[in-house]
């Protein structure tokens, strides 16, 4: 079909794409931090022996994992504004929405990894007089983190791509920037492939980064 990629370097297209990419990367990054923190809490909460807490976390998981991000974003950004006059900025709603959504997935990863750590580790910590939470923090989690890395990598890569849904709440991330260019010059394939490559670069960096971390942790504390 005769692709001509020079179109990407014409006008301000590349700049527009890179601006979009920057929005994507920065929003994703903030959402990722939120998702990791919140996901950890939800995952721990699900394992709590306080019934109400573990119930609450199970509901969180079921709702935020079970329903489409698009709907969650619409409710958060438009629904709250229309129904309750809570007017979040698009950036706030985007980071919150993405982060809460992804946290549900992360919580399952956290739970899986923690439950795979030998029970003896918790007992050893407790028998030394450390509290449950101290042991969790200083003994279990540092070991569990290593096992979380491969699925977390999956999840964070999915997160960068889910961020393209932010365009429905007025955030001009890279996919939106691409669609704007396409509607100007109708060069679908060149632009979409360029977008794919930009995502690829970001995601490949994530997987290389996490891969390194994995190796590093493997060397430091050997297999647990």
């Amino acid at each position: 079909m005769g692709l001509d990629f020079s179109v990407i370097f014409e006008d301000n297209n590349l700049i527009a794409l890179l601006q979009g990419l920057w929005v994507t990367v920065s929003m994703t990054f903030m959402a990722l931090v939120l998702s990791a923190g919140l996901g950890l809490l939800i995952g721990l909460g699900r394992m709590s022996n306080k019934k109400w807490l573990s119930m609450l976390c199970s509901w969180y998981l079921a709702w935020f994992r079970g329903t489409p991000l698009l709907v969650q974003l619409m409710i958060l950004y438009y629904g709250l504004a229309i129904g309750m006059q809570i007017d979040l900025s698009a950036a706030t709603a985007g980071v919150l929405g993405l982060g809460m959504y992804s946290a549900a997935y992360v919580s399952e990863i956290v739970r899986g990894a923690i439950q795979s750590i030998d029970r003896g580790q918790m007992e050893a910590g407790r028998s030394l007089g450390m509290s449950h939470w101290q042991t969790m923090q200083k003994v279990i989690l540092p070991q569990a983190v290593r096992r979380m890395l491969p699925p977390l990598c999956n999840e964070f890569i999915a997160l960068t791509k889910n961020s393209s849904l932010l365009s429905v709440i007025t955030v001009s991330e890279v996919m939106r920037a691409g669609n704007l260019i396409v509607s100007n010059n109708f060069r679908y394939f060149e632009i979409y492939i360029a977008i794919a490559i930009l995502y690829f670069v970001v995601n490949y960096s994530i997987s290389v980064g996490i891969g390194r971390l994995e190796k590093k942790l493997n060397v430091e504390g050997a297999r647990a």
Binding site: G120, Q121, E123, A124, S127, L128, G129, S131, Q143
Partner: protein
């Protein structure tokens, strides 16, 4: 020092400890023996409240551990208080349970720094002293995975000692070790006993029991069936079941 008073322990419907009572005095070394599944580990773990008991009471130096009475009901004591008492009871496991992500030194420093909130520089001298004591001074910066089983167990002992416990509980500390490595761990334990540490030891090492124990306790099917000086238990046990067990353990060598 330790008072176990008529405790009962169930796993579901399985009655694992049946009205067990045991006194351990300060400085005493008590060895618990008995067939597999008789409840030795469970008894030891109850002394640390790693397992909940359903009836009876356990006291460490006169203070109850785990369950306390409040308004006539038995309730679990506050976490803080439990952690406090637990930190006075050291425990050594069959599988060492060292923290694999920490160096030997950090394994030892972890609990004192976390529980007592002592500064690293304040505990390090003690930790190093303990490593010398268990003969591993030069391994301080290695990771557990690079140690032999015997070395691992000696680190585990040093780790428990770093909390300066009043009593040490050992659950088959040598049974996961290659026979040639058993000796080094027993040597450390003998030294501890000689220094006057109160110890409760579950073990199959009859040699150790004969030499070090002040008292040997025999368990079978969840009950304490016999106790006495090692000489008496090994040479003239009263119970038939004790005899049967001893003959099995001592036969194949």
């Amino acid at each position: 020092m330790i008072q176990v008073k008529h405790i009962h322990k169930f796993y579901g419907k399985h009655h694992v400890l049946k009205d067990v009572s045991l006194q351990v005095s300060k400085g005493e070394v008590v060895v618990i023996i008995g067939p597999s599944g008789s409840g030795k580990s469970t008894l030891l773990r109850c002394m640390n409240y790693l397992e909940q008991i359903q009836d009876g009471a356990i006291e460490i130096e006169g203070k109850p551990i785990g369950l306390i009475e409040r308004n006539g009901e038995k309730v679990e004591m506050p976490q803080k208080q439990l952690d406090q008492i637990r930190s006075e009871v050291g425990m050594v496991f069959q599988n060492f349970n060292l923290f694999p992500h920490l160096s030997v030194l950090d394994n030892i420093l972890m609990a004192p720094m976390t529980v007592k909130r002592t500064k690293r520089s304040d505990v390090e001298p003690l930790a190093k002293e303990l490593l010398v004591k268990v003969g591993l001074a030069e391994k301080a910066h290695m990771y557990p995975d690079h140690l032999s089983g015997g070395q691992k167990q000696r680190v585990a002992i040093a780790r428990a000692l770093a909390m300066q416990p009043k009593v040490m509980l050992f659950d088959e500390p040598t049974s996961a070790l290659d026979p040639e490595l058993v000796g080094e761990v027993l040597a450390v334990m003998k030294q501890l006993a000689a220094e006057g540490m109160t110890m409760v030891v579950v073990t199959h090492e009859m040699g150790f029991a004969k030499e070090v124990a002040d008292r040997v306790v025999v368990m079978d099917a969840g009950s304490l069936i016999e106790e006495g000086a090692p000489a008496k238990i090994f040479t003239a046990p009263e119970q038939q079941r004790t005899q049967a067990f001893l003959s099995k353990v001592l036969s194949h060598d």
